[in-house]
Symmetry: C2
Subunit: 252 residues, 2 copies
């Protein structure tokens, strides 16, 4: 049998709101569409639904725009109070130019606009912030699946981030549970017997990207099941293993 | 039926060398393992095998290390002639620090070490350079599949690139044929009727990442078939659409 990985979108989940049982609803929906969650699956859950059930949805009118937020936004389409939220979710501004704000968020992510956006949430003046601790969100879903179905899964909370040098965003991991987010080949031999000194693959980001292929931005598929991928099980996994830390980075 | 994408690794291909019929061999291998290439497939072909069949394998001894190459490499494990090859494949050094060289390659890619590496090729003093024109490589494979099997496929040439801010590398596209590498949602409405102003997804990079999940670095799976992904067909596709160009970038 050739190696094969399946990426299955989970459809039919309801619009979610603060306090909803996300894990339960995704198990129900997967079951209802004939693809119940199985041992060894990787569940890729998009950040937006995690933020919704965790109550991380805010209104423009919850804040007043600071002079900096007003100045930065001038001449751009964004509401200055939206910009204010971006600044409040950041611990460092990495670049601020032509209306673009690249932040280091308070969670340690480098991304545009502190990961805040207004798409796919109800209301004209609402924004979804990132979850406070996406690793904990992932762990909670993993535990709920174990408790109800008795199976071990890995969980990735994903978000759509841009990146330097390349147009277009891709989905990456912002929280993980149950798998090592990096597959290290350091010290292993390649196919010709040479030691591979430096190769480390961010498999959690590749899994998040694969999950996006069945999700899409308008399709109402907030969860993907990745089946058949032989990940490295790790009980105390954390996205911190992927976050480089600004002191080691050449592009801070 | 829930949305599903399959990622199938192509095993059983021989060690490749200059002049080999890569497209023919991958069609043979896919057929032999019971997963013949079908209309609408995306073929993800890793750069290393493309470089091999195109003769982009060089030896350390083909060059003499310049004083800069010697100085940069001092105290690091790399052969200075390897560094010389990196400099020769670059049109700009973006960062050069602690043995790390981030280049803009002559093809326009931003990556470490000009995309050159020594793993998975025979010999102790050999290096694989990037293909001269990976779009042309992808187009050639696409045409060969059309000519022999009569089916339309998309082809992505992939390579493993690191990135700022996040540990671990991921596979990205360096050449494309037959599909739009970016899926733009600009102007479309989201699930709540809001216009999505800025969302563009680099689907070619996500497909490359998905392809890596069945490949791996030591597994001898240089080609993946991605089946069931509804890509945007585009006859004159090019990776240039993903390359931002340094004049627009905040991290040059």
């Amino acid at each position: 049998m050739p190696p094969e990985v399946r990426v299955i979108g989970v459809e039919g989940m309801p619009e979610l709101t603060n306090g909803d049982d996300l894990a339960g609803l995704m198990m129900d929906a997967a079951q209802a569409q004939g693809t119940p969650i199985e041992d060894g699956d990787v569940l890729v859950v998009t950040q937006k639904v995690v933020s919704k059930v965790e109550g991380k949805v805010v209104k423009f009118s919850d804040v007043e725009a600071s002079p900096l937020a007003i100045a930065v936004t001038e001449g751009h389409r964004r509401d200055p109070r939206h910009t204010e939220w971006i600044l409040r979710e950041s611990k460092r501004v990495v670049r601020m130019d032509r209306g673009v704000i690249i932040c280091e968020t308070k969670h340690g992510f480098y991304c545009a606009n502190a990961g805040i956006d207004a798409s796919n949430i109800p209301g004209d003046d609402t924004l979804a912030l990132l979850p406070d601790d996406s690793d904990a969100s992932a762990r909670g879903i993993r535990k709920a699946v174990k408790d109800r179905l008795g199976v071990e899964v890995a969980v990735i909370v994903s978000d759509t981030f841009g990146r330097p040098w390349r147009n277009g965003a891709t989905d990456v991991a912002i929280g993980v549970a149950g798998l090592d987010p990096i597959h290290s080949y350091v010290g292993q031999m390649d196919s010709h017997g040479h030691e591979m000194f430096t190769t480390e693959i961010a498999v959690a980001d590749e899994l998040a990207a694969a999950g996006e292929l069945v999700g899409g931005k308008v399709a109402g598929v907030p969860v993907s099941i990745i089946r058949g991928y032989d990940y490295i099980r790790l009980e105390d996994a954390s996205i911190q293993r992927i976050l480089r830390g600004s002191e080691k980075d050449l592009f801070r």
